[in-house]
């Protein structure tokens, strides 16, 4: 039980919680307490110091929207955003309850009637924005992987193709999302004309921009990984006379998986970073648009709300990275 919990914590990267488990199971108390101090006490102190500095500095900075918000105001705005979310949800529930009641009444009067159902159209709450952002980055990440993995494998398997494509890759790699966005917008607008309302155009534009900026890490890592597969494994594949397909799927890909996952991890990180800019420009509902709207809005609480968004972005980015790190650990063989 204890060993299992510790294993799970290690796997998810929550190393700081391990001493607690040990402490409660009665292992050497002093040692564990010291562990807790170094693994939790120090970071907590640092965070406290950071908040204090923030608080003190914020008081001295005056912006056109008033004093720069400190930690308290930001916490307060976070609560406000949560409340707004609850209110909006309650409204939606009310709306649907009323609609259901109305439909039930119509049906009672006339069993053959087919009353229309309407979706609630409230404004998206902060949590909705987070969800949209996560969806967008996920779709962009999938686009990036679909493009980068096959090309990476081909590049890694064939030196000539690698040499041929290398300059293009190196030139496109450092381009900023802000530069891609107008091009992506034009192309998506030209190609995606079916506007059936299922997926908004701005969503696709953001996702494609994310993909364009983030796919390079996966592409390069896959290519290098495939190109540097241990010669012994290839010898085995040759001696066992594996077919090209088996060699790819049973030898080369498994051998490259750790490298590929390192690439995917970077890709997701870059994608999440790029996403905010893309959403701002593409006006895709999401955290980027939330920030942009608050900035345009310019009320006294705007900066505090933007700071909430900044912290949210940071924490989600961290969580995504931990997730990828855990997956990466899972696929890497000793």
């Amino acid at each position: 039980m204890k060993a299992r919990t510790i294993q799970l914590l290690q796997f998810t990267g929550m190393f700081w919680a391990i001493p607690f488990v040990r402490l409660f199971s009665g292992e050497e108390i002093l040692v564990q307490l010291r562990q807790i101090w170094t693994s939790i006490g120090l970071p907590v102190m640092a965070i406290a110091g950071f908040l204090l500095t923030w608080h003190l500095v914020a008081q001295r900075v005056n912006t056109s929207l008033g004093r720069l918000p400190g930690p308290m105001e930001v916490t307060q705005q976070a609560q406000v955003l949560w409340q707004e979310h609850l209110t909006e949800r309650a409204k939606a529930n009310d709306f649907y309850a009323r609609q259901d009641a109305r439909i039930a009444k119509i049906k009672a009067a006339n069993p053959n009637a087919k009353p229309r159902r309407v979706a609630f159209t409230g404004k998206p709450t902060y949590l909705d924005q987070i969800l949209t952002s996560l969806k967008t980055v996920f779709v962009g990440f999938i686009f990036a992987s679909i493009l980068a993995l096959p090309i990476g494998i081909i590049c890694g398997a064939n030196k000539n193709i690698m040499t041929a494509l290398n300059p293009i890759i190196q030139v496109l790699k450092p381009v900023s999302p802000l530069a891609w966005l107008p091009i992506v917008t034009m192309v998506v607008s030209a190609v995606y004309t079916t506007n059936n309302g299922l997926v908004p155009k701005s969503f696709i534009i953001s996702a494609v921009t994310v993909a364009m900026c983030s796919l390079w890490a996966t592409l390069i890592n896959t290519a290098v990984g495939v190109a540097s597969v241990n010669k012994d494994y290839l010898n085995v594949a040759q001696v066992l006379q594996l077919s090209a397909r088996q060699r790819t799927f049973k030898v080369i890909l498994p051998a490259t998986l750790p490298m590929i996952f390192t690439g995917l991890r970077i890709t997701l990180g870059v994608g999440w970073m790029v996403l905010i800019a893309a959403e701002m420009m593409a006006q895709n509902p999401g955290l980027g648009k939330f920030i942009w709207d608050e900035f345009q809005n310019g009320s006294s609480t705007s900066i505090a709300r933007i700071m909430v968004a900044v912290l949210t972005i940071g924490m989600i980015g961290y969580a995504l990275d931990r997730l990828m790190a855990a997956l990466q650990q899972k696929v890497s063989f000793a």
Binding site: N235, V236, Q238, V239, Q241, L242, P254, L257, A334
Partner: protein, 286 residues
């Protein structure tokens, strides 16, 4: 069956070029068991890789049943020196990968039974579903042997397959390999650093002289009746004489090579005393 004709092999270009094999001639008869002993780095692995078709000679011919060897084939099974197990597959999966290639028509159950038979032959039934990383070096080596044997090749090429094993396991596996070789009269080439092992198992033992530009030494025919019993060998005068001859030959060529190298080094760097690599032989007298 297997033939090497005037083989030359070198690696690298220009100044980095190292001549490894120099005019190697070897003829292995069908059903014969040949052992090659030689110092570390003399080119033994290079030699088997040529026979396996993993490397091509610069000059000369490598023939299997009179045909030039163009690449690896199922008829020539290989046990790699560094085991070369795929770490993402379990022991059973590693072995099955080859079995599935050689016996594509077999059902899954048939293959599994076959795989398990060879796993138990190398005493690893308890570890059949472990990953190679969870095994000791010797256990990995046994898996590598089982993988090659399970493909039932006509020719077994073994590159120091037992070097990491304890005396007991080593003895057992020696017997297993001999049994399989004997049953269907396969052809076998064994690279070893253990002269005793060579004499116990082979029909002929051939030293590979120290490199660079290694040549094969004279073949020592082993006319000791089979089955040979390891514990009885020590009492056979023929065995003692052979063992003595081979070891003396190796020590002499080793000393020659050392002297020659010292001369060369001394010519260039008069004041530096080179540190010579330790020889790779087990010469411990029992």
């Amino acid at each position: 069956m297997l033939q090497l004709k005037n083989i030359y092999k070198s690696f690298g270009e220009g100044r980095q070029r190292t001549e490894v094999l120099n005019n190697i001639n070897l003829n292995i008869q069908e059903g014969e068991f040949v052992a090659i002993v030689g110092y570390s780095g003399s080119g033994k692995t290079t030699l088997v890789k040529l026979l396996a078709g993993l490397q091509q000679a610069d000059k000369g011919e490598v023939l299997y049943k009179g045909q030039a060897i163009k690449g690896p084939g199922h008829e020539r099974g290989m046990v790699f020196q560094n085991y070369s197990l795929l770490p993402w597959l379990s022991v059973a999966q590693n072995i099955d990968l080859g079995v599935a290639q050689v016996f594509p028509k077999w059902s899954k159950a048939q293959r599994e039974a076959h795989v398990m038979r060879y796993i138990s032959m190398v005493n690893l039934s308890h570890a059949a579903h472990k990953a190679p990383a969870e095994l000791s070096g010797g256990m990995r080596q046994r898996v590598a042997v089982a993988r090659a044997l399970s493909m039932e090749p006509e020719v077994l090429l073994m590159d120091e397959p037992l070097s990491a094993l304890d005396a007991l396991t080593r003895g057992n596996l020696q017997q297993e390999i001999l049994k399989i070789w004997n049953e269907n009269r396969r052809t076998a080439l064994l690279i070893t650093n253990d002269v005793d092992e060579g004499i116990l198992m082979a029909d002929r033992i051939i030293p590979l002289n120290p490199g660079p530009s290694a040549t094969l030494g004279p073949a020592f025919a082993i006319d000791i009746e089979r089955p040979r019993d390891k514990t009885q060998l020590n009492h056979i005068p023929e065995y003692k004489r052979l063992r003595n001859d081979v070891i003396t030959y190796l020590l002499d060529t080793g000393a020659d090579a050392k002297r020659q190298k010292e001369l060369e080094v001394n010519r260039e760097l008069p004041d530096v005393k080179p540190v010579m690599p330790r020889s790779g032989f087990s010469l411990a007298l029992r």
